[in-house]
Protein backbone atom coordinates (compact mmCIF):
# COMPACT_ATOMS: atom_id res chain seq x y z
CA UNK A 1 0.00 0.00 0.00
CA UNK A 2 1.33 3.44 -0.93
CA UNK A 3 0.99 5.99 1.81
CA UNK A 4 2.01 9.58 2.14
CA UNK A 5 4.91 10.09 4.59
CA UNK A 6 2.55 11.82 7.01
CA UNK A 7 0.17 8.87 6.97
CA UNK A 8 3.00 6.44 7.46
CA UNK A 9 4.01 8.27 10.59
CA UNK A 10 0.41 8.11 11.80
CA UNK A 11 0.51 4.34 11.38
CA UNK A 12 3.66 4.15 13.47
CA UNK A 13 2.01 6.19 16.21
CA UNK A 14 -1.12 4.03 16.00
CA UNK A 15 0.86 0.80 16.17
CA UNK A 16 2.86 2.06 19.11
CA UNK A 17 -0.32 3.28 20.85
CA UNK A 18 -2.12 -0.04 20.33
CA UNK A 19 0.74 -2.01 21.84
CA UNK A 20 0.97 0.43 24.74
CA UNK A 21 -2.78 0.16 25.33
CA UNK A 22 -2.67 -3.66 25.41
CA UNK A 23 0.48 -3.75 27.54
CA UNK A 24 -0.98 -1.27 30.01
CA UNK A 25 -3.85 -3.63 30.85
CA UNK A 26 -1.76 -6.80 30.59
CA UNK A 27 0.77 -5.46 33.10
CA UNK A 28 -1.83 -4.60 35.74
CA UNK A 29 -1.76 -6.88 38.79
CA UNK A 30 -4.38 -9.61 38.52
CA UNK A 31 -7.54 -8.48 40.37
CA UNK A 32 -8.66 -10.55 43.38
CA UNK A 33 -11.81 -11.76 41.63
CA UNK A 34 -9.63 -13.73 39.23
CA UNK A 35 -7.62 -15.25 42.04
CA UNK A 36 -10.86 -16.26 43.76
CA UNK A 37 -11.95 -18.08 40.62
CA UNK A 38 -8.64 -19.94 40.50
CA UNK A 39 -9.12 -21.02 44.11
CA UNK A 40 -12.58 -22.31 43.25
CA UNK A 41 -10.98 -24.39 40.50
CA UNK A 42 -8.74 -26.03 43.08
CA UNK A 43 -11.70 -26.88 45.29
CA UNK A 44 -13.66 -28.14 42.30
CA UNK A 45 -10.75 -30.25 41.10
CA UNK A 46 -10.93 -32.15 44.36
CA UNK A 47 -14.62 -32.92 43.79
CA UNK A 48 -15.31 -35.87 41.60
CA UNK A 49 -17.31 -33.94 39.04
CA UNK A 50 -14.90 -31.02 38.72
CA UNK A 51 -17.78 -28.58 38.32
CA UNK A 52 -17.25 -25.04 39.54
CA UNK A 53 -20.12 -23.93 41.72
CA UNK A 54 -21.35 -20.53 40.55
Amino acid sequence: MIQSPKNKFDQQAIGEGLRRMFEEVASEPTPDEFLDILRRFEDAAQDSDGEVKQ
Partner: protein
Protein backbone atom coordinates in the same frame (compact mmCIF):
# COMPACT_ATOMS: atom_id res chain seq x y z
CA UNK B 1 -19.92 -43.94 24.84
CA UNK B 2 -17.49 -46.77 25.39
CA UNK B 3 -15.91 -47.40 28.78
CA UNK B 4 -12.54 -46.28 27.47
CA UNK B 5 -13.93 -42.97 26.25
CA UNK B 6 -15.73 -42.47 29.54
CA UNK B 7 -12.52 -43.06 31.47
CA UNK B 8 -10.77 -40.37 29.42
CA UNK B 9 -13.48 -37.89 30.36
CA UNK B 10 -12.84 -38.23 34.08
CA UNK B 11 -10.86 -35.24 35.30
CA UNK B 12 -7.21 -35.98 35.86
CA UNK B 13 -5.84 -33.93 38.80
CA UNK B 14 -2.33 -33.66 37.30
CA UNK B 15 -3.73 -32.50 33.97
CA UNK B 16 -6.05 -30.07 35.78
CA UNK B 17 -3.08 -28.53 37.56
CA UNK B 18 -1.22 -27.97 34.30
CA UNK B 19 -4.37 -26.59 32.71
CA UNK B 20 -4.92 -24.21 35.59
CA UNK B 21 -1.31 -23.00 35.55
CA UNK B 22 -1.49 -22.32 31.81
CA UNK B 23 -4.81 -20.55 32.14
CA UNK B 24 -3.43 -18.42 34.98
CA UNK B 25 -0.60 -17.22 32.75
CA UNK B 26 -3.13 -16.10 30.18
CA UNK B 27 -5.20 -13.90 32.53
CA UNK B 28 -3.34 -10.65 31.75
CA UNK B 29 -3.80 -11.15 28.02
CA UNK B 30 -7.42 -12.20 28.35
CA UNK B 31 -8.09 -9.03 30.32
CA UNK B 32 -6.30 -6.91 27.74
CA UNK B 33 -8.15 -8.50 24.82
CA UNK B 34 -11.49 -8.12 26.62
CA UNK B 35 -10.71 -4.47 27.41
CA UNK B 36 -9.92 -3.77 23.80
CA UNK B 37 -13.13 -5.40 22.58
CA UNK B 38 -15.52 -3.90 25.12
CA UNK B 39 -13.72 -0.62 25.80
CA UNK B 40 -15.01 -0.85 29.36
CA UNK B 41 -12.86 -2.05 32.30
CA UNK B 42 -15.71 -3.53 34.37
CA UNK B 43 -17.44 -5.26 31.47
CA UNK B 44 -14.05 -6.52 30.28
CA UNK B 45 -13.18 -8.13 33.60
CA UNK B 46 -16.64 -9.70 33.85
CA UNK B 47 -16.12 -11.10 30.39
CA UNK B 48 -12.62 -12.39 31.14
CA UNK B 49 -13.87 -14.10 34.32
CA UNK B 50 -16.72 -15.71 32.43
CA UNK B 51 -14.16 -17.01 29.94
CA UNK B 52 -12.04 -18.54 32.70
CA UNK B 53 -15.08 -20.43 33.98
CA UNK B 54 -16.06 -21.59 30.52
CA UNK B 55 -12.51 -22.66 29.75
CA UNK B 56 -12.34 -24.62 32.98
CA UNK B 57 -15.66 -26.34 32.30
CA UNK B 58 -14.50 -27.24 28.81
CA UNK B 59 -10.97 -28.22 29.84
CA UNK B 60 -11.43 -31.87 28.91
CA UNK B 61 -12.09 -30.84 25.32
CA UNK B 62 -8.86 -28.84 25.14
CA UNK B 63 -6.05 -30.64 23.40
CA UNK B 64 -3.15 -30.12 25.81
CA UNK B 65 -0.03 -28.90 24.08
CA UNK B 66 -1.95 -26.94 21.45
CA UNK B 67 -2.36 -23.18 21.49
CA UNK B 68 -4.28 -22.36 24.67
CA UNK B 69 -4.07 -18.63 24.03
CA UNK B 70 -5.91 -18.99 20.72
CA UNK B 71 -8.40 -21.37 22.32
CA UNK B 72 -9.26 -19.03 25.20
CA UNK B 73 -9.33 -15.98 22.91
CA UNK B 74 -11.83 -17.83 20.75
CA UNK B 75 -14.01 -18.51 23.80
CA UNK B 76 -13.72 -14.86 24.78
CA UNK B 77 -14.70 -13.67 21.35
CA UNK B 78 -17.72 -15.99 21.15
CA UNK B 79 -18.83 -14.93 24.62
CA UNK B 80 -18.43 -11.26 23.69
CA UNK B 81 -20.62 -11.65 20.60
CA UNK B 82 -23.28 -13.68 22.34
CA UNK B 83 -23.54 -11.02 25.06
CA UNK B 84 -23.51 -8.28 22.47
CA UNK B 85 -26.32 -9.98 20.62
CA UNK B 86 -28.45 -9.76 23.74
CA UNK B 87 -27.76 -6.08 24.32
CA UNK B 88 -26.78 -4.33 21.13
CA UNK B 89 -30.28 -3.42 19.98
CA UNK B 90 -31.14 -1.69 23.23
CA UNK B 91 -27.89 0.13 23.88
CA UNK B 92 -26.76 3.18 21.94
CA UNK B 93 -23.84 2.50 19.62
CA UNK B 94 -20.42 3.06 21.12
CA UNK B 95 -19.43 5.57 18.55
CA UNK B 96 -22.17 8.02 19.43
CA UNK B 97 -20.36 8.73 22.66
CA UNK B 98 -17.03 8.67 20.93
CA UNK B 99 -18.10 11.14 18.29
CA UNK B 100 -19.24 13.65 20.85
CA UNK B 101 -16.03 13.40 22.82
CA UNK B 102 -13.40 13.00 20.18
CA UNK B 103 -11.74 16.21 19.10
CA UNK B 104 -9.52 16.83 16.15
CA UNK B 105 -6.01 15.57 16.62
CA UNK B 106 -3.86 18.58 15.86
CA UNK B 107 -0.48 16.94 15.58
CA UNK B 108 -0.64 13.56 13.86
CA UNK B 109 2.97 12.74 14.66
CA UNK B 110 2.70 13.27 18.43
CA UNK B 111 2.42 10.15 20.61
CA UNK B 112 -1.21 9.15 20.80
CA UNK B 113 -3.21 9.70 23.91
CA UNK B 114 -4.57 6.30 24.86
CA UNK B 115 -8.00 7.73 25.54
CA UNK B 116 -8.19 9.05 22.01
CA UNK B 117 -7.06 5.71 20.69
CA UNK B 118 -9.71 3.90 22.73
CA UNK B 119 -12.42 6.21 21.46
CA UNK B 120 -11.18 5.79 17.93
CA UNK B 121 -11.24 2.01 18.31
CA UNK B 122 -14.81 2.15 19.61
CA UNK B 123 -15.82 3.83 16.37
CA UNK B 124 -14.55 1.00 14.19
CA UNK B 125 -16.82 -1.79 13.01
CA UNK B 126 -16.39 -4.55 15.56
CA UNK B 127 -14.77 -7.06 13.19
CA UNK B 128 -12.13 -4.50 12.25
CA UNK B 129 -11.61 -3.61 15.89
CA UNK B 130 -11.00 -7.19 16.95
CA UNK B 131 -8.62 -7.81 14.05
CA UNK B 132 -6.60 -4.73 14.90
CA UNK B 133 -6.50 -5.60 18.60
CA UNK B 134 -5.32 -9.15 17.92
CA UNK B 135 -2.67 -8.19 15.38
CA UNK B 136 -1.68 -4.63 16.17
CA UNK B 137 -2.06 -4.66 19.94
CA UNK B 138 -1.76 -8.30 20.98
CA UNK B 139 1.00 -9.11 18.51
CA UNK B 140 -0.70 -12.26 17.21
CA UNK B 141 0.21 -13.90 13.93
CA UNK B 142 -2.32 -13.52 11.10
CA UNK B 143 -2.86 -17.29 11.09
CA UNK B 144 -3.59 -17.27 14.82
CA UNK B 145 -6.02 -14.36 14.49
CA UNK B 146 -7.76 -16.09 11.59
CA UNK B 147 -8.21 -19.20 13.71
CA UNK B 148 -9.67 -17.14 16.54
CA UNK B 149 -12.02 -15.19 14.29
CA UNK B 150 -13.01 -18.23 12.26
CA UNK B 151 -12.16 -16.59 8.96
CA UNK B 152 -9.53 -16.67 6.24
CA UNK B 153 -6.06 -15.19 6.76
CA UNK B 154 -6.71 -12.82 3.86
CA UNK B 155 -9.87 -11.57 5.56
CA UNK B 156 -7.94 -10.75 8.72
CA UNK B 157 -5.31 -8.93 6.66
CA UNK B 158 -7.85 -6.81 4.87
CA UNK B 159 -9.73 -6.05 8.11
CA UNK B 160 -6.50 -4.94 9.79
CA UNK B 161 -5.58 -2.77 6.87
CA UNK B 162 -9.02 -1.17 6.69
CA UNK B 163 -9.00 -0.70 10.45
CA UNK B 164 -5.62 1.05 10.35
CA UNK B 165 -6.76 3.32 7.58
CA UNK B 166 -10.03 4.19 9.29
CA UNK B 167 -8.32 4.76 12.62
CA UNK B 168 -5.75 7.09 11.08
CA UNK B 169 -8.60 9.06 9.54
CA UNK B 170 -10.56 9.19 12.78
CA UNK B 171 -7.56 10.30 14.79
CA UNK B 172 -6.34 12.93 12.36
CA UNK B 173 -9.72 14.42 11.56
CA UNK B 174 -11.70 13.73 14.68
CA UNK B 175 -14.90 13.93 12.69
CA UNK B 176 -15.16 10.50 11.19
CA UNK B 177 -18.70 9.32 10.63
CA UNK B 178 -19.11 5.58 10.57
CA UNK B 179 -21.07 4.02 7.79
CA UNK B 180 -24.00 2.75 9.82
CA UNK B 181 -25.30 0.46 7.09
CA UNK B 182 -22.10 -1.50 6.63
CA UNK B 183 -21.56 -1.62 10.38
CA UNK B 184 -24.87 -3.31 11.07
CA UNK B 185 -24.30 -5.56 8.10
CA UNK B 186 -21.02 -6.67 9.66
CA UNK B 187 -22.80 -7.24 12.96
CA UNK B 188 -25.42 -9.35 11.19
CA UNK B 189 -22.70 -11.47 9.65
CA UNK B 190 -21.00 -11.98 12.95
CA UNK B 191 -24.22 -12.96 14.70
CA UNK B 192 -25.01 -15.48 11.99
CA UNK B 193 -21.52 -16.89 12.38
CA UNK B 194 -21.87 -17.08 16.16
CA UNK B 195 -25.17 -18.93 15.65
CA UNK B 196 -23.50 -21.50 13.44
CA UNK B 197 -20.70 -21.95 15.98
CA UNK B 198 -23.17 -22.45 18.81
CA UNK B 199 -25.19 -24.97 16.83
CA UNK B 200 -22.13 -26.95 15.79
CA UNK B 201 -21.11 -27.56 19.42
Amino acid sequence: VSDAARTLKVSDPARDRVFKAELTKLIPQLRAFARGLTGDPTAADDLAQEVMLKAWMARDSFDMGTNMKAWTFMILRNQFYSEKRRSWRQSPLDQEVAERTLEAHENPSAPLELNELRMGLAMLPVVQREALILIGAGGMAYEEAAQICGCAVGTVKSRVSRAREALAKILSQGDFVRDGASASEAMGDILAQADRLTKSR
